[in-house]
Subunit: 240 residues, 2 copies
DNA sequence: CGAGCCATTGAATGCCATCAATTTTAGTGG
DNA sequence: CCACTAAAATTGATGGCATTCAATGGCTCG
């Protein structure tokens, strides 16, 4: 800490500097013009979540919304008998915390060190009244999430293990492209156990299937978490 | 047609009479007061879809929204190689047609003779500008749909055949209760093939599992489409 | 460099799918 | 109302893909 002007490294601090935010173009705040986004800045706070930490838990009261600026997050549900199912992964630009319930129906946990923009629920809802198009934008994002969930239902209901993994890789690829990063190769920010759980498979099946995909020259792996898709354009044909 | 005042039996006609609509309390229009709902009435049309007919198809342009007044609808996706996956069923009070895309990503088909309230997309979106809380209500409904889709992901990823069927019955039961009908017995408005497809199973497995549930006295069937849940309150414990 | 976790590979089991046949239901017309 | 027919549902026999159980290999990080 060199200068007195440096804030202490607390988890929550003000002044997110929305105007030059890296996810502004794809996030909900992107529909606000420069003059209006200053108002949003005054009601938002930065929050850093270290890898492996929870952002909120199933059963917690919904009183905060989040915007992901950096990192990645897994969303999972627990049944009363302890079974766990990951229902989604979220990435920079995604809006987190919307619910039709008063309590969260799922857990959110950081897969890597993650930076969030945090809003008080009531305050942001009042902000909607002044800028209705912000709420429209969020409706749009939720609809997008719903479409993704329906795709996942298709995957779980009809795809083989090999198809599930390939579809998963393509999803990550297009996610990266949306963020302006390269769509190939891709990086898996989660362990095999999370991939398996998300895809309705076991770790062993994921591992075996990856070995097959490597043998068949469909993918190439650099280490255990970076994957190059060999004929990426050919893959979608035999899915969807 | 006894009186000249009777309209011809066309599929689409005006004057839905929102004020005394049977689904008003649970549908999106329920947040409007009596004086405001008259304005909604002027932009809505009635539409009847006979059993088995499509409401819209995957790839169709999104230019109409629907509100289900009576009947039931199945939502399903097709992959390019012809595989089909039902991703949801919709019932009276549900809002149909929202999308983040310009084209529908799924098909909607009436499971029984169904009555809809129809809105032009652009017109209803302009209506939102005048009554923003209508859009808030729809955001709420979409969030509810998303939560249901996440539940279905859990079901497909972690539940056994027996659990899938029981969960499905409980869902229908609570749907009926929301409509003020009895939650037990329940009526299946779709054939076995649709149940199987929705639950990620085959017709044969559904049939076999139903036989087991009957043998174990967990359900009692009246005909092939009416089901009485014997100890309904006990069932949820061993799910969720 | 070693400990512990994560990933991979192997062998055997099991649940649900597939293939096949029968029974029941529902719809139609005599 | 009943016979007739086609579709839907049920039941049986077999098989396969992914799981489960078990062991080995390979990172990663103190």
């Amino acid at each position: 800490m060199k200068h007195p002007s440096c804030r202490p490294s607390i988890v929550t601090k003000n002044n997110p500097k929305c105007a030059q935010c890296s996810v502004r173009l794809i996030a909900f705040c992107g529909i606000l013009e420069d003059k209006d986004i200053l108002q949003l800045e005054t009601i938002s706070k930065n929050k850093n979540i270290p890898k492996g930490n929870s952002i909120f838990l199933q059963g917690d009261e919904v009183k905060t919304f989040y915007n992901i600026k950096q990192g990645s997050v897994k969303i999972y549900k627990l049944s009363h008998d302890g079974r766990k199912q990951i229902v989604g992964f979220m990435y920079p630009g995604d809006f987190l915390g919307m619910s039709d319930q008063d309590l969260f129906t799922y857990n959110a946990e950081a897969l890597e060190d993650t930076k969030l923009c945090q809003f008080n629920k009531t305050v942001l809802e009042n902000f909607f009244l002044k800028f209705p198009k912000v709420e429209s934008k969020i409706l749009n994002l939720v609809n997008h999430e719903l479409a993704a969930a329906q795709d996942q239902i298709f995957l779980l209901g009809k795809y083989s293990a090999k198809e599930r993994l390939l579809q998963f890789f393509l999803n990550i690829s297009s996610q990266r492209e949306k963020l302006g990063w390269g769509g190939n190769p891709i990086r898996l920010s989660m362990p095999r156990s999370d991939i398996a759980n998300y895809l309705g498979l076991t770790i062993e099946t994921v591992s075996r299937t990856l070995s097959e995909l490597k043998k068949d020259q469909i993918i190439k792996m650099i280490g255990t978490h970076d994957i190059f898709l060999n004929n990426k354009d050919q893959i979608p044909q035999y899915l969807t």
